[in-house]
């Protein structure tokens, strides 16, 4: 089993949490300490092997999404080490990250270029993505005209059709109608079952966690309080809610 994700003593502190003022900005530039720093991750260590399906459980604001953003290398850790090996594809905030004035088709190209695909590769994916999104003639309309459900459909289709090695999903499936949701779940199932794909999932739905994952990590106030198989970690999480 080879390791694809490793966090070693990772801390994450958000600077400039409130509205930035000149004083704070100068302090950031000159590396001074700030009064209102917020520690969202506290000494997080874990490692995930290739092919593992892991669910992160925790309340809102516990730091789950920050961990996902660190895995996708959007954010940098304040201290500690992060090692990620493999093409990460993240389903984070599906509705955003489009050029609103461009059509759906143009946005597919844009995404493809951003991910470093060649024109030929994008062309091959285009039909697959459009077919999966199933938004009809709207594909040639500017994204501005899309409903939020349609944006999510397109975002999801792009993300899952670009074959990932590590799939990161953050509450992405709470949008769209029932039919499309099932289609998405099936697609995720296909991706994660057929290939040697690693799945990292953040969800509040125990059902989904149980269906897709065999391991659970419970986060509370920026710390890992449990790391084990999925059933017992759901128990731990339930207990921790009840206690408060």
């Amino acid at each position: 089993m080879s390791e694809v994700i490793r966090f070693k003593n990772v801390d994450k502190i958000y600077k400039l949490n409130k509205k930035p003022n000149f004083n704070n900005i100068l302090k950031v530039i000159f590396n001074k300490k700030l009064k209102e720093e917020k520690k969202v991750l506290d000494n997080i260590s874990f490692s995930i092997n290739k092919g593992e399906k892991v669910a992160f459980l925790g309340k809102n604001g516990s730091g789950k999404s920050t961990i996902l953003k660190l895995i996708t290398e959007v954010l940098y850790p304040t201290s500690g080490e992060i090692y990620v090996n493999g093409k990460v594809n993240a389903l984070l905030e599906l509705k955003s990250g489009f050029e609103l004035e461009f059509t759906g088709r143009e946005n597919i190209y844009l995404k493809g270029i951003l991910l470093g695909l060649s024109k030929k590769e994008i062309k091959e994916l285009e039909d697959k993505i459009i077919e999966f999104a199933d938004i009809g003639e709207y594909i040639d309309y500017p994204i501005q005209k899309y409903s939020s459900g349609m944006r999510a459909r397109l975002g999801f289709s792009i993300a899952v059709n670009i074959e990932p090695e590590i799939l990161v999903i953050d509450e992405a499936l709470s949008v769209g109608d029932e039919e499309f949701k099932n289609k998405c779940l099936k697609k995720i199932n296909d991706i994660t079952e057929n290939k040697n794909v690693t799945l990292v999932l953040v969800t509040h739905s125990f059902e989904m966690a149980k269906e897709f994952c065999n391991r659970g990590i419970v986060i509370q106030k920026g710390k890992i309080i449990y790391d084990g198989n999925i059933d017992s970690s759901i128990e731990v999480y339930k207990n921790s809610i009840n206690k408060n």
């Binding site: 930035p20 900005i25 000159f30 954010l75 940098y76 993240a90 955003s96 990250g97 004035e101 470093g116």
Partner: protein, 265 residues
């Protein structure tokens, strides 16, 4: 600095593709589309010409050239400069989804914007040359210096945009400050007047420390003044010093702010 170079090397073709998309984004949404890249400067130049020749009645000829050609030689570069002063500072901000939604080499974002604006600049300069030819002026060796000054401008605004976009990403006030200062830079940098015509020597000396003055005067050297760049060595050295300082500042701001920017955007 090393890292910035590395990011650019690795994403070389991506930068050009995205610069093209940036152009499409700027001009694609309207009915007249690309024509706006010419209409907007044309209107501005007309206004300057009207003010100077009709309003201020300062004569039809300047340095032996019709006012209109004289103005074109120096205002066309200014369009690129002004776009870059503001566009550079807000470049990361306007592309924030590249920073916060995916893994993307942040330092290439200002370059994408710069390349996109520079394309338009090249087209406009070609039009300027054509206009000079139509009006009966012949291409001489001074014309070819334009390549030198365009490269200097590109480098200067590349460094400016890396530096300013990093600061601009964490501080909106900075972007607003830059926007307000642009008007001042326009009037102070000898775009529609000639630094060589200033009589007070000490004012002239101070003005040479403005890099924009140097660049605009450079473009004018090619078309109007017919001066070689090595005939003004002192000014060139001052400019290059500024360029080096700006490069160092760009490197520092990148190094310090790279990891903070995704947190605050």
């Amino acid at each position: 600095m090393n890292e910035i170079l590395k990011e650019h090397k690795q994403n070389f073709s991506k930068i050009f593709k995205l610069a093209r998309i940036d152009l499409i984004k700027t001009y694609g949404g309207s009915v007249l589309g690309w024509l706006w890249a010419i209409i907007k400067p044309a209107i501005t130049i007309f206004v300057y010409w009207f003010t100077i020749e009709i309003g201020l009645r300062s004569g039809k000829i300047r340095n032996g050239y019709p006012n209109f050609l004289w103005l074109i030689a120096s205002t066309v570069p200014w369009f690129y400069f002004s776009e870059m002063i503001v566009g550079g500072a807000s470049s990361i901000r306007s592309y924030n989804y590249l920073v916060t939604k995916m893994k993307f080499p942040v330092s290439t974002i200002p370059t994408i914007v710069n390349v996109s604006k520079f394309m338009i600049h090249i087209i406009l300069e070609i039009i300027v040359i054509i206009l000079f030819l139509i009006n009966g002026y012949k291409i001489d060796i001074y014309f070819f210096q334009i390549i030198f000054y365009m490269l200097l401008s590109f480098m200067f605004f590349e460094m400016w945009s890396i530096f300013s976009s990093m600061i601009g990403a964490i501080s909106k006030d900075f972007v607003n400050l830059v926007k307000s200062i642009t008007v001042m830079v326009f009037w102070m940098s000898g775009i529609i007047w000639d630094i060589n015509s200033i009589s007070q020597p000490w004012i002239k000396k101070i003005l040479w420390f403005n890099p924009i003055v140097y660049l605009v005067n450079g473009y004018r050297n090619c078309f109007i003044n017919k001066v070689f760049f090595f005939e003004e060595p002192k000014q060139l050295i001052i400019f290059l010093t500024f360029l080096v300082i700006l490069t160092v500042m760009a490197g520092i701001s990148y190094k310090k702010l790279k990891k903070v920017i995704p947190d605050v955007l």
